[in-house]
Symmetry: C2
Subunit: 271 residues, 2 copies
């Protein structure tokens, strides 16, 4: 059983478009006429996929500041007839997952996250206004209450994502935003909001910054509260501004290397 907001998110569109579907489904008679086409058992219907994933290379900002990936081209087309690289990757690079194991002794590794929790309702909490005024802003219980007031309860199995507007800074030093003492300043989840979400059945939290905790956190309170509880996190999301606060379905391409504490993941939102 997945949290089938895929269904809900397209239901509304479909109800209004139902007449368009009639006659669009071809039977085997039509099939016999050709090997390809737009009419088939699959209706070619308008929808939308929003990519929440950064492309990344050695220049992509990382929490510790060092490059998160390097590659070694072992075969090249000119010499060998094909291209192939071996990558060296810090698990916590680019748009990536934090598995429970990242901040626990024996929590679930990234390959052990239940597949049912990889297709989930996406709730987007917009804190751009206060983050623009204060780089140390946090997503608080009041922000969650405002979302709930406008959109209804947090759905079971949801991912609650913070949109702080940080994507506008990704190309420069402003993404890490370290001061002269090396302390970073970017938004994250306040521990009290994290605790509030632990009272729900949300499966994941996500941020558009480098960490679930805000940058100046010295104690990783949100990581230590959320991940050992068997929930997971997603860091460095982009394009949350292209989605509604409620109604999108997230598909999280969690990596499957065994025993991983996290890893780069393709994250797509379906509308």
């Amino acid at each position: 059983m997945c949290h089938a907001c895929v269904i809900d998110s397209v239901k509304r569109a479909m109800i209004s478009r139902r007449d368009l579907f009639r006659g669009a489904v071809a039977g085997t008679a039509a099939a016999a006429a050709g090997i390809a086409g737009t009419t088939s058992a699959f209706a070619a219907t308008p929808s939308k996929v929003v990519d929440l994933t950064y492309g990344y290379d050695e220049s992509f900002p990382t929490y510790f500041g060092a490059p998160g990936i390097s590659s070694d081209q072992r075969f090249n087309f000119a010499e060998h007839g094909f291209n192939l690289k071996v990558l060296t990757v810090n698990e916590h690079t680019g748009t990536h997952l934090d598995a429970p194991l990242h901040f626990s002794a024996d929590g679930a590794s990234v390959d052990q996250i239940a597949v049912e929790n990889l297709v989930l309702p996406l709730c987007i909490v917009d804190i751009r206004e206060k983050a623009a005024a204060n780089a140390d802003a946090e997503l608080t219980p009041d922000d969650l209450k405002a979302w709930i007031s406008a959109n209804g309860p947090i759905p079971d199995g949801a991912c609650v994502a913070m949109n702080s507007g940080w994507q506008d800074r990704v190309s420069g030093d402003g993404f890490r935003n370290a001061d002269s003492d090396g302390v970073m300043h970017f938004p994250g989840f306040h521990i009290e909001a994290t605790q509030m979400l632990l009272e729900t059945n949300a499966a994941a939290i996500g941020v558009d910054t480098l960490s679930l905790d805000y940058g100046k956190s010295g104690d990783f309170k949100t990581h230590y509260a959320w991940l050992p509880a068997g929930r997971y996190g997603i860091e460095n999301l982009k394009s949350l501004d292209q989605l509604p606060a409620s109604g999108a379905t997230l598909v999280v391409g969690a990596p499957t290397h065994k025993g991983g504490t996290g890893g780069p993941a393709r994250v797509l939102a379906l509308l």
Copy 2:
């Protein structure tokens, strides 16, 4: 515009269940009563997610035979308070993508595959019977014609996947199935089937074996025909037997490291 078979695949279920939806959508009045619940703007509706992705470690079979991944634990919970690893990964390990760049001088890298081609109709061609009798079996034009006869034309933007039953061999040497001369024997796409699919608008082909070409191929004809045409491949799919020949929607979690020739990918099928 994505190939919204998400919509089609759930449409049929939804039409019969529509009455269940009525009244299941809570408004803001109900929302004010609590922070969490199953009633919300997201309807909690039955659906199915099938994971087509292997978990993998250094023991997972690879084309060249050498381990495809190793890891270095840089931080551990007992000593540092958190766990973090750095991975060294051959791009073509586990369930993974072949980007056009893999077999071309300047084709699209894995991060450049259009997001619209990552959510796509899945067509499964079952060749298990002949593959059980002959490890050198190939998916041929006749197999495609049989699929089309039963299911209709190949949808635009589809992924056409071969189910050879090879997943039953994944735990042993039978997956690579190398003979005494080191020549491997496993099924793949025949070049003529590949050419037939190039006449359609299929976006991808997939296999449940180590290579798009059959194991004893010395010339990689299918790779050289398919990938430089701007299409992509998926290798080492599992659990295709849990899906219908037509009707599932594939979501392909293509990695986004820049310039990649491919990479491990989470692949999920939605029904």
